[in-house]
């Protein structure tokens, strides 16, 4: 199925879920509120059957802009692909977890939580996955400032003598 057909199919069941996108956009934009239901539809609908979550990416469009998550789906049955983007506010942004629908999402959502601070509601084990558990802040946000010290270890490069 092409993107427009998928959009029509999703819109027929969940008309409130879709957010208008720019013309020519190769993805569907969604609201977080309906995402759990839409994801279930994408997975189990006879025409859609997106049974593989290839990747889940967090992104930051810059200070003052929302944070987002991009889901790249693929159907091994129908051999079609789809990208879904969901954007949430920087502070307290919450997205329903799809870890129960696509198991791939479990660690990917932990990574997005770790590096962008996006909360996934209903995730079975939402902890930091790469950074140490006592790390402060979310490093891939564009307004992130690196700490001066981590457990007493100086973090920025000491440039005395060569600058």
């Amino acid at each position: 199925m092409e993107l427009a057909a998928i959009q029509t199919r999703v819109g027929a069941v969940h008309p409130d879920a879709l957010v208008p996108t720019d013309e020519g956009a190769a993805y569907l934009s969604m609201t977080p509120e309906h995402w759990a239901d839409v994801a279930q539809l994408l997975r189990s609908d006879e025409e859609l059957r997106f049974n593989v979550l290839m990747c889940l990416t967090g992104y930051d469009r810059g200070p003052g802009e929302p944070l987002g998550v991009a889901y790249n789906l693929h159907s091994m049955d129908k051999l079609h692909k789809l990208e879904v983007r969901i954007e949430v506010p920087r502070d307290g942004g919450k997205i329903p977890s799809v870890a129960q629908i696509w198991r791939t999402a479990e660690w990917h959502e932990r990574e997005a939580y770790d590096l962008f601070g996006i909360t996934f509601v209903g995730h079975p084990d939402l902890r930091r996955i790469l950074l140490p558990e006592d790390w402060e802040g979310y490093p891939l946000r564009k307004d992130y400032k690196e700490p001066d010290y981590y457990r007493g270890i100086p973090v920025p490069k000491d440039k005395r003598g060569w600058e």
Partner: protein, 164 residues
Amino acid sequence: MAVSLVNRFEQDNIIVEQIDNLLNWARAGSPWYFQFGLACCAIEMMAAAAPRYDLERFGAMPRSSPRQADVMIVAGTVTLKMATRVKRLYEQMANPKYVISMGSCANSGGPYWQYGYHVLKGVDLVVPVDVYVPGCPPRPEALMQGLLELQKKIKEDTPLRRVS
């Protein structure tokens, strides 16, 4: 091994030697290193240990436990998360112990020196380093030279007169 004999008898296989020199000879001849790698430098370290370069001809043998190791080769990027572990592993090694910092990342942070919020800017910030091996990554020959430099350093040591 340059052991400067004090005296050597023709019969009975007896030599007379300063105990410092004898200890240094033994220790420099068996710098067993702690077998762990952190990044791509570890690949070169493995190549150095493998038959083509054969670090073991210098007596250097990988050990899987810090308790059995004399030398820690920090081969690769040390993240801040790993830095706390590296420090703990170093503390678990028995004295006398030495550290070879292998590659740009372990020496100074390498390509992460500016924007690596998660990278330790030189492993010498957490453990004392004896030999720095430059390179990104260093070739096995460079690591071998680093090991030979360390052996030189061990031979100049005075283990029985050390104040520690």
